[in-house]
Symmetry: C2
Subunit: 230 residues, 2 copies
Amino acid sequence: MARQREHQASPLHAYRALKQRILSMSLTPGSSLGEQRLAAELNVSRTPIREALVRLASEGLVELIPNRGAFVAPIRTEAVIAAQFVREALEVSIALQAAERIDAHGELRLRQAIEEQRLADQEGRAGLFYRADEQMHRVIAEIAGLPLVWEHVLEAKVHLDRVRTLSLQDARSFSVLIGQHESIVAAICARDGGQIQQSLRNHLRQVLPNLAGLKEEFPDYFLDDDQHPD
Amino acid sequence: MARQREHQASPLHAYRALKQRILSMSLTPGSSLGEQRLAAELNVSRTPIREALVRLASEGLVELIPNRGAFVAPIRTEAVIAAQFVREALEVSIALQAAERIDAHGELRLRQAIEEQRLADQEGRAGLFYRADEQMHRVIAEIAGLPLVWEHVLEAKVHLDRVRTLSLQDARSFSVLIGQHESIVAAICARDGGQIQQSLRNHLRQVLPNLAGLKEEFPDYFLDDDQHPD
DNA sequence: CTGTTCCAGATTGCATACAAAAATACAATA
DNA sequence: TATTGTATTTTTGTATGCAATCTGGAACAG
């Protein structure tokens, strides 16, 4: 029985493992998350599992139905739209403020971030590119002096990650995305508010896939209030 | 022993009770939230208490320190600034979209909301006014077709509520706020984007009290990374 | 007097036990 | 055969027990 050396590690481990599987659609919407089974799977008792499920439920990734159990939450079109709205509004505001506060050091960091992306692209390492991409957006928030606002973006982004996973567009070449990143950085360095807004919005909408199409292709994963209007 | 008839009611009850006390500063930052004590107080065991504490911790209202206990989280200036930023960015974007979609029915609802505020003001019922105020902002989100985005605003607002409670400016006459609400509604009905942005930002900054002053008056409640730079 | 060590008390972290509720299977009846 | 009532089984909701960890202070050495 592998004893956990560090305390409070079990709930965190369960939380991360489940979240990863949900966002990568390895656990599909509607899947049952029986506490017993998960506990056996991760070699812990039900208590830390329950703690992880509560956290995931508060983020909207899991539905906790009283006396019935926990299930992977369906993808709600409304939640995806809202998350996209939140992300656009926050990131545009962040970038505008970043433009007002950026200095030479900040410009350097942004160029380095893009360089990392180029490297990851050349080596064809999707995971690495993905991290570098997110890192760049985070750096913009830091330059704006608002690192905590990025946490709010991350909370919303959770509802976008699953549809992106479904669309599998990550497989496409990253050069397009890098180009978009370059024009965003250029706009920030040029302190051109209008250009910032246009290039960033364009970029963020690019990564939001065709929702209606996905909904037709994977109807089981979606749930909207106007479900069966026969 | 008052048995709970409805299942899963205990954690929710504990969550709401604690949240209310924390936001109203009835439980001040740094207060110890011993599981044992809370369990005895609410006549339940530690398990549902723990569930509530985990939820509150994920919202940033409680700090869960391993093997030491749970404490009411200090007010972090950085978090307040970030929350204000999020609220402004989201509410302005929401209001701009509301202006594009509003119809006669929507205008009526907004006028009704203001009427309710006027009533609450005349009767001097602060709690009622507070609810009507929040209701109006929520209605704007509904008109924009983005009710879920309002939930994100609420998450951020949590970090503003405690400083507002401290400043006690709710005691001041509400007529000023009602006037601001009127100009916001007027701007939305007039579809005047610039005016929307100006009146809403002005309003939202009005309700953010003097942070530096509060920090001096209640130093024990605040904690920032640059704490004692002697 | 100061700094260190160690012990007692208290509190959490996790496991497990038990009860309530829901789902399921099945038999009896119309 | 369809349906309904009931018994069984499974699963959650909550309570509780025990070990690990941390705090605070007393005893002690320098």
